[in-house]
Symmetry: C2
Subunit: 415 residues, 2 copies
């Protein structure tokens, strides 16, 4: 971690996880999927705020993604508000789905007195069902009225809760940057997502916000850098969704900030949220990090790390706490990356297990303990470097054990 | 099915599933993993028999694969015997593993009186453990003596059983070809494999045998054609193993046979065996076929079919009998193939479910029934063709629902 970035490690008291200056948030309940829970979330920012986003590359991108992509382009990276809902993805909903997304945006723009193209929108939930506009539209003016009563520095939690679907916990993180002139700048973020998680985004929605003054182009760069190190390095089940997105907003009210520091803070917040997503993966029992070093190029390291971390046989072995390292090297060997099999070294929890094409006599109790912790660390060296392990030849991928509970949840999730 | 190929559909009475003329088989018990079950299998063929094989492309190919690959090359596609064992994969076993494979081969060659390089070998079971040579070596002369007492036309079943690991059933198939001059020629096959199954072979071992007269080059071509239509179109868990292989042998004792007919028979036997592997997949409850048509090129059709068939969310929905078609189109949309989302048509069990970017009013009971059968047929048209659905734009991929039992089995499979 960069020493200039003061960490706000996830506190017990959620009250300290709040929105940066200039942001106001409100939530509402429109009974989109079920009665009595917040399923609408609105975030507003002052005029002049900048915006950037990464959207799913799925060909069946949802209606709100289509509309938000257009608005972000038309506004040249500026935004006044973001409207999210859970309970319905508004995906695979045809022209009516697009019309509903536009109608929601127009209602919010009217109530807030801003231009429609400065409002972004996204939805998460079941695919192929239309939004219940009869319940959503009456709620939107009330939601916007609540924004007027909100203040800077409100807790992230209500917003983080309102966008949850199968998540069991709200996901929030925050960092403070101390600028050289004594000012502080804040980066906060929320996320949702528990299934359908893999690189290129997933049923994941994340919102990152800063009060630093950042132009739209820089914000986009900082966001992509952060997503690369976080959301693109996790997998729960290899599936991506129609609604995946990460939004970044800068209210610009707290003055400028060194880009390197800002990027580090964005990256840390995004990595926190990505880890929380993995550890809240459906049926989660145990997390798994696969670190690959000594590859010929970084892309090879990523490919091996992702293949091992995504292997069903590795993931079930992790669930079983079973030191079945043969599955780990078999997965590495089919990753489609060329390396000398005899050069591979495998360590689990720091214990050397495999070298020179065969298992190493290891302390069986230590190995078993390494496979049975709440977090399993797999380190694979492909031997292409001379010991000076550089970032250029390394990458890490996060996943979790595959459990019977994951299967049960997803076999029972009724459309 | 080619009308010239008379099908021997899987009979109830396994006695009719036998080896073609010229082949002799024997099994033995060496207590490799556990006492009292057959775990050695030997197949011999007459001098002049030809051989071909497809081996795993995993970088950690097992010791016996390494040795067999060399022998097949040295013998220029000829073979006298194949020795298989279950209970131990002899993979990731270093130089000692190779020495053990060679020592087993030498013992068989000595007992049979043939050249060592005409003997092929493979193993299946746990990775990273050495073969118990003290128990295997004494058993090999007995195994070879048993071959002397075997006869042409013996049942495939003892051999098919001896190579089983987590399989619950022996896998056998046979076809008879009627040649134009009244002669008949036979193609028979056995296979094992239940987990670690996906394209490029898996923990799968298959042996295909014919009594037709076929030169080594033709046999290799016929084998690759058959594997392409079968073993390379199935997936149980996306993992491949260190020991995957398909062997083909021709005893050449029944005279020549038209290559097209022979290829059709090999393909049918291989497809039978591939389907049996999927339907004996660990924790199997329900099979799944994904047929994609109307792609720009065949490779695109395969990519979409494999992505949908391998999606954990689709596979858990299949297990739940849940008509969650949104997961199917979401998987198609992330396959990395470019098509117009609005052109996609989705049918399940013949019921049109999705068209023009949105769901179609379908008979809910019929759809639910289609998702709840013992076999689920998913048909996706990408719309690139004009209705004349050609093989050039289509492909099919087989898989099965992902079950809690699969996870339980693989979490508990102790090294």
């Amino acid at each position: 971690m960069n020493s200039m970035v003061t960490s706000n490690p996830l506190p017990r008291a959620a009250a300290t996880l709040d929105w940066p200056r200039g942001f106001r948030a409100a939530v509402g309940a429109a009974a989109i999927k079920k009665q009595g829970r917040d399923d609408l979330a609105l975030l507003t920012m002052p005029s002049g705020a900048t915006a950037a986003a990464i959207f799913t590359r799925n060909l069946f991108a949802a209606a709100p993604i289509e509309v938000s992509r257009r608005h972000l382009k038309d506004s040249r990276g500026h935004a006044s508000a973001l409207l999210l809902n859970s309970g319905c993805a508004n995906a695979a909903t045809g022209p009516l789905g697009v019309a509903n997304a536009v109608e929601s945006i127009d209602a919010v723009a009217r109530a807030l007195g801003c231009a429609s193209e400065s409002v972004l929108v996204n939805s998460t939930g079941v695919i192929g069902v239309q939004l219940p506009m009869d319940r959503i539209l009456p709620e939107l003016p009330r939601l916007c009225a609540r924004i007027e009563r909100a203040s800077d520095g409100d807790s992230l939690e209500p917003f983080a809760r309102a966008i949850m679907t199968t998540d069991t916990k709200p996901k929030m993180s925050s960092r403070t940057i101390s600028c050289s002139d004594g000012r502080t700048v804040r980066v906060s973020g929320v996320a949702k997502g528990a299934g359908m998680i893999r690189p290129d985004m997933a049923t994941m929605i994340s919102v990152l916000a800063t009060d630093a003054e950042v132009d739209a182009r820089t914000l986009d760069r900082v966001l992509r850098h952060a997503a690369d190190a976080s959301y693109h390095r996790i997998s729960v089940d290899g599936d991506t969704s129609t609604n995946d997105s990460v939004f970044a907003f800068a209210s610009c009210v707290a003055g400028a900030c060194d880009e390197t520091l800002l990027a580090a803070a964005f990256r840390e917040v995004a990595c926190d949220l990505a880890k929380m997503i993995v550890c809240d993966g459906e049926g989660f029992e145990r997390s798994l990090a696969v670190r690959v070093s000594g590859a010929a190029i970084k892309a090879d390291a990523l490919k091996v790390a992702e293949t091992v971390a995504s292997s069903l046989l590795v993931r079930t072995a992790i669930t079983g706490g079973d030191p079945n390292w043969g599955r780990i090297i078999a997965a590495a060997g089919r990753a489609g990356v060329t390396f000398r099999a005899n050069d591979l070294e495998l360590r689990v929890g720091g214990n050397l297990i495999f070298r020179d094409g065969q298992p190493v006599e290891a302390d069986k109790n230590a190995v078993r303990a390494a496979f049975n912790g709440s977090h399993v660390e797999i380190a694979i060296s492909l031997g292409a470097t001379d010991g000076s392990v550089g970032e250029a030849n390394s990458d890490t991928f996060l996943s979790c054990g595959l459990t019977t509970e994951y299967v049960r949840l997803n076999a029972d999730y009724t459309t």
